[in-house]
Symmetry: C2
Subunit: 416 residues, 2 copies
Amino acid sequence: MERITATYYIETPFDPEKAAQVLAGEQSSGTFVAVPGETAALKERFAARVESVQKIETVQQPAIPGAISKDGQYHRAIVKVSWSIENFGYNLPVLVSTLQGNLYEITQFTGLKLMDIDLPASYADHFRGPAFGIDGCRKLTNVLDRPLIGTIIKPSVGLSPEETASMVNTLAEAGIDFVKDDELMSSTANSNFSDRLDAVMDVINRHADKTGKRVMYAFNISGEMDEMLRRYEMVVQKGGTCAMISINSVGLSAAKKIADQGQLAIHAHRNGWGMLNRHPLLGIDFKAYQKIWRLAGADQLHVNGIQNKFWESDDSVVASIEACLTALLQQAKPLPVVSSGQWGGQAFETWRSTKTVDLLYMAGGGIMAHPLGAAAGVKALQQAWKAAVEGLTLEQAAKAYHEFAMSVEKFGKGNA
Amino acid sequence: MERITATYYIETPFDPEKAAQVLAGEQSSGTFVAVPGETAALKERFAARVESVQKIETVQQPAIPGAISKDGQYHRAIVKVSWSIENFGYNLPVLVSTLQGNLYEITQFTGLKLMDIDLPASYADHFRGPAFGIDGCRKLTNVLDRPLIGTIIKPSVGLSPEETASMVNTLAEAGIDFVKDDELMSSTANSNFSDRLDAVMDVINRHADKTGKRVMYAFNISGEMDEMLRRYEMVVQKGGTCAMISINSVGLSAAKKIADQGQLAIHAHRNGWGMLNRHPLLGIDFKAYQKIWRLAGADQLHVNGIQNKFWESDDSVVASIEACLTALLQQAKPLPVVSSGQWGGQAFETWRSTKTVDLLYMAGGGIMAHPLGAAAGVKALQQAWKAAVEGLTLEQAAKAYHEFAMSVEKFGKGNA
C-alpha cells in the first residue's frame, strides 16, 4: 500500500527516536493508554511509522516552550514519519490534520517544523494541480521568453474604481503583463468589487481589442464561499483571466473549490505566511507548504523576492523559487511570484541565483513611483531583465538603458 | 465610522512606536515609497491608526529572526492598531488578511502576536455566530446542569464501522452525552464515512427511541467543500445533531459555509493550533482566535484541558475557557471542549479555576480504558463532576464513589 512520508525538523530534550515515536503514536492511535480494539493487525495497517532519525546537533536552550531537559541538553534531528494512504485517502484537509495537526502540541518537542512531504504516485490521478501553471499563464499573457512583469495597485486601499482603472490604463499602455489588487483590497466603501471589475475590465478589453495583448488582472475575490464563486463567475463573464485568493485566510477547502472551476488562473497570495514559517523550529517550510497548495490548484504562488523589504533571507527566497520549479506528479508547475520592495535592480541577483525567467516579477512602488511615470517603470524592469539574462551587470545595464538608469538613481542602494 | 481594533504583543529592536507605525502603513497603504494618488484625504479615511503603545520590558535576545539591534536591546510592548470597517466591511477572510497578513513578515519586528480583536457593534447584524452554542447543545443532549460528558473513539484510526457502532452502543448504554470521531478519522480504507454514519446512527436512533436520550455524535466531515456539504446533509438525514470540522485544515470560508447551514451543531477542532500559538511571541492568542471562529459559527471550540498531556499550561487553558464564556455581540456562546489526557481527576481543579459547568468534558482513554469498562468510565466522570461542584476533594470523592475510586487507582498520579 502506498505511503506518504513527512520530513520534520525537531528539537527535543528526550532521545529523538523516542520523541518521534510519540509523534507517530499521537498521529495514528492517539491516546495515552492502551484501549480495547487496538489489535496488532490494526496497528500494522494504520499506525504511522518512524522511517528515520538523523541527529543534527545539541543545544542548551529550547527553541519553544515544552518539556524541560533534565541534563540541560536539547537534541535537534531530522525525522521522517510515514502513513499509509489508507488512513486518509485523497482528502487534503485530513492529510493536513495528520501531518500538521495535534503534533504541534506534543510536549516532548521543543521545536517542530514540517519540512517536506513525499506524495505517492496515485495522487496524480486525484489532483489535477494547477489548471494553468507557468505555461498557461504565459499563453494567457503572450509572454514567452522572459519573466512576466507585474505590479500591485497602490495605495493598497482607497482608490476608487475609476482611479484604479485609470492606473490600469496607464500600465497597459506601458506594456505591463500583469496587475493585481492588494490583498487588503477586496470590496471597500469606495471601491465595490463589481464596479472595480467593470471599470478595470473595460480598460483591459479595450486595450486587448486594440493591441491583441490582454493584461492579466488578479481580482481579489477572497471572501465567503458563495461570494467568491459569484465574483469568480463575474470575472469570467467580463473576460478576465485571473482570480486572486489569500490562501491562508480563505483556507484549503474553499480555495480548492475555487481552483477546481478551472477557468481562471489562481493567484495564490500567502499573506500570513510569516506566522507559519518565521520561526526556524516551528510551523512549516515552504517546500512542504507549496506542495499542498499545488495539489489544491494554485497557478501562481508568492515567494517573496531577493533583497526584499521583509525579514526573509535571499537563500530562503531562492529555495522557494526552486521548490515551485521542481516537478510534482506530472502536474503543471506554478509560476513563482517574486515581490516585496522589488525594482529592476534585483533582476541581476535573482537571475544569477535562480537562472530562470519562469517568474512573475512584481514591482509596486518600483513601477508606480518611477521618476518618468509608470510606463517608464515597466520599461526599466524589462530592460533590467534583458540585461541580466544577457550577462550585463547592474552598472552596465544603467549605462545602456535610460529608464533603468533613472530607476537606479531613485531606488538604488541608499536612495529608496 | 466604526473601527476594528487589534491588540498585538510585539518585540522590536527599534522604538516600538515607530515599529507600530510600520505595521499600520504596511497593512493599509502598503508600499515603500510615496505614490501618486495617495492623498491626505484617502489616508485619513483608509489608513490604519496606531491607538496606543505600552512598553513592557527590554530583553537582550530577539525572540524570532528579524532586524538586528544596534545596541543589543529588544523592546517588548503591547500595541493597539485600528482600521475603519470601510476597508473590509464584513468580509472575514479580508479582515484576517488585514489583521494577520503580511505584518508577520515585517523585519522591524522580532516578535509579533495578535492578542485580541475588538469588534464593532454592527458585526452583530452580519454574523449570526454559533447557531446552537451552549444552550443549543444542552437542549440537543438534554444535559442541563452539569458538563456534557464526551469521549473520542479510539484507536483514532482503524476500527470498522461495526466496531465503532458497537463502542457507541456501549457508551450510549452507559449514559454518555457526546461521542466524536478523531480528527485523523474521516473516511478510511476500512471505515467509509457513510457506512460509519449508518452504523453509528442506527445505534443512536435505537437508543433515543428507547430512552428519549439522543447521544450527540460529532462526525468528522472535514474534506473538500462539496464532499463536506454532502456529508453534512447525510448526517442531517440520518438524525444526527453534530458535525465536526478541523477548522485550521479546512479553513475559514469553507467552515463558515458549513456552519451557515444551521442544522447541526459545529464541533470546531483546532488541531494545528500549536503551530499558530505555541511560541509566546509569534502567531495568535486564543482570545483573538476564538472570536474569528465564533463569527464563523463554531458551536463547540477546543480549549485543551487542565493537567493535559500536551505542552499548554493550566493558566492558558483557564484563560481559553473564560474567553469562550465571555459575551460577544449578543451571540450564543460556544461550548468549550475540554480534552487531552482527561479523566475525572481533573474535574476538581477545572471546577476550582473556572467555576463553570458549561463545558464539554472529553475523556478518551479515561473512559474507554476504565478497569470496569467504558460504562464505569462514564459513571466515574459524572461522579467526579458531581463531587467537585459539591465541594468535595478528589480524595473525598474517591471514598464516596466506587467507580471514581477505580479511576483514581488507574489514572491517578504515577499510575497512568
